[in-house]
Symmetry: C2
Amino acid sequence: MFQNSELFSLTYGSLVAHLVNDLENTEGVNKQLERMGYNIGVRLIEDFLAKTSSGRCYDFKDTAEKIQLAFRNYLGVTPTVSNWNSQYDEFSLVFTVIPLTEFVELPDNCLDIKYCNILPGIIRGACEMVGTFR
Amino acid sequence: MFQNSELFSLTYGSLVAHLVNDLENTEGVNKQLERMGYNIGVRLIEDFLAKTSSGRCYDFKDTAEKIQLAFRNYLGVTPTVSNWNSQYDEFSLVFTVIPLTEFVELPDNCLDIKYCNILPGIIRGACEMVGTFR
């Protein structure tokens, strides 16, 4: 059995294409993707907590590891956690590959689209539900 | 590692919810989902052919089995093929569970929505590309 990432990525592509046709500007598309992600994250966190039996995070490094695990579980890719700042409250997630962008070529008039903007939305929604951001 | 069906199903839910808000009527939503599915099927078939090394179908029963296999590969569920007519050119795909409908409760004013209408669209697009429907 192969993974269903192709179907997911094509369905996500349909969603983005619809938003591009539907909304007036790139900024609106980016915003809407982030908002959709937020709503997904708010619901997906329950599934994550149930399946991983995760408890409360002790520190932000712990949070970063949980987010990393979530990407592995839901998207099948593990981003690298890096670029920590000195206060250890900022970091980067670096992806070498994202299944969402399979088959994707953005036309020239769409280069400002943050194609994967649903992902930061999901992180925001999920983290908000468990009280990471206050 | 658990499958990403939850993320897929929530993303699909966002798409349907957006169409419901966006389009005027249920019929429009159903049509748009089918159309999106068609466009996905047209592209997904290449991936299917490449990964399964499938050749030409000999008869419609063969076609039914390939469609069944595609559902197993991309959605992780295997529908039952049944209700063949006497000419063997019509059949039903019966699902006991569809991952897309996880977490879904349709509100009363959306009961006419064919929530999974992207699926027949995908079948139509994919089959058309390999010349099943003429």
